[in-house]
Symmetry: C2
Subunit: 195 residues, 2 copies
């Protein structure tokens, strides 16, 4: 009997590889073969371990959301101030514009754009992602309010949503070909809104 | 001889139908059959008149850009003030969130999101669309500056780009499921940036 035979691949590494493909190409445009190639798996191992493209996509989206929210929180904890964190987050979009690589945007927002509200389950995954990112921005706004760089009477929930919306708009502008210097100037304007 | 035999369909109407399909579903997810159904054409008429999915997409994108820019300009000409136009444009996104229909976003920005910079020709079409929309917002900003509701020392090019970026972010938020009332509150914040 073959109980507990170890997997012949590292599932975390395979998930990461799949996440990169979905992030760069979107759900629809990613073929099974793209996934097998990136994950270095046979079709049978793929189905056995991940069940199919759709359940794999859910796991990738969840992984992206958790990794990204954790990285954002870590960055907020390390930041000199709440305001610095907010500026750094927005500025990271300008860096993507300057990288010379094909801009990938944010997997959660890419998924929002691809599916819109056409698939209730995907819409729920997207909403969870947006809420996670909003929560980190809200913590940053509240920190900035304590530090006196954002007025205490402003609603941190609305400012946080504004910042997520701004990030998303900026990332689309980068995908539309707007260069890094111009993105920086747009960010300067956006930051005025939270003054 | 069969010179000048009239087409058995209205090419403008067929183009409009195709534009709606690309707008709602994106390029990749639109099949030839989707287009034939929407345009009510046989495969041979389709290829004879439009040459294929890709050249048809270019014509749809150009049509969308021109229709949209013309509608925006008309709306700016009719608006009580430059500032009113800007507010109305942003607020139209909240209306989409409240419509109860699947949000479609903007075909130009959807295309930016779908292709990013991965296809130079498509990237050029997208850039032309973004520039057209930016030009209308710039005219609105300059009008508002003359009317005294936006400070005269602000750079209208940057404010216009900020407004296009904001529209795009808001449209993605609607696709992510953010409701109309919340969209309106985000717009209030965004408008502060151009004060």
């Amino acid at each position: 009997m073959n109980i507990g035979r170890p997997l012949e691949f590292d599932p975390e590494q395979a998930l990461d590889a799949a996440m990169q493909v979905f992030w760069a190409s979107g759900y629809e445009a990613t073929s099974l073969q793209n996934l097998l190639d990136a994950m270095d798996l046979s079709k049978s191992s793929f189905y056995q371990a991940f069940g199919g493209k759709r359940p794999l996509f859910e796991r990738c989206l969840r992984r992206y959301r958790e990794n990204m929210a954790a990285a954002m929180l870590e960055s907020l904890n390390q930041a000199a101030s709440g305001r610095h964190f907010i500026k750094d987050m927005l500025s990271s979009v300008a860096s993507e514009a300057c990288s010379g690589e094909k801009p990938r945007g944010c997997l959660v927002m890419n998924t929002a754009n691809e599916f819109a509200q056409g698939d209730p389950t995907v819409a729920e995954w997207v909403a969870q992602g947006v809420d996670r990112f909003t929560a980190v921005f809200k913590a940053a706004v509240q920190r900035a309010q304590k530090e006196g760089t954002i007025a205490a009477d402003k609603d941190p929930d609305v400012l946080a949503r504004f910042l997520v919306s701004s990030m998303s708009g900026l990332k689309t502008m980068v995908k539309a070909g707007i260069g890094g210097e111009e993105i920086k100037r747009i960010i300067q304007i956006a930051l005025r809104a939270i003054d």
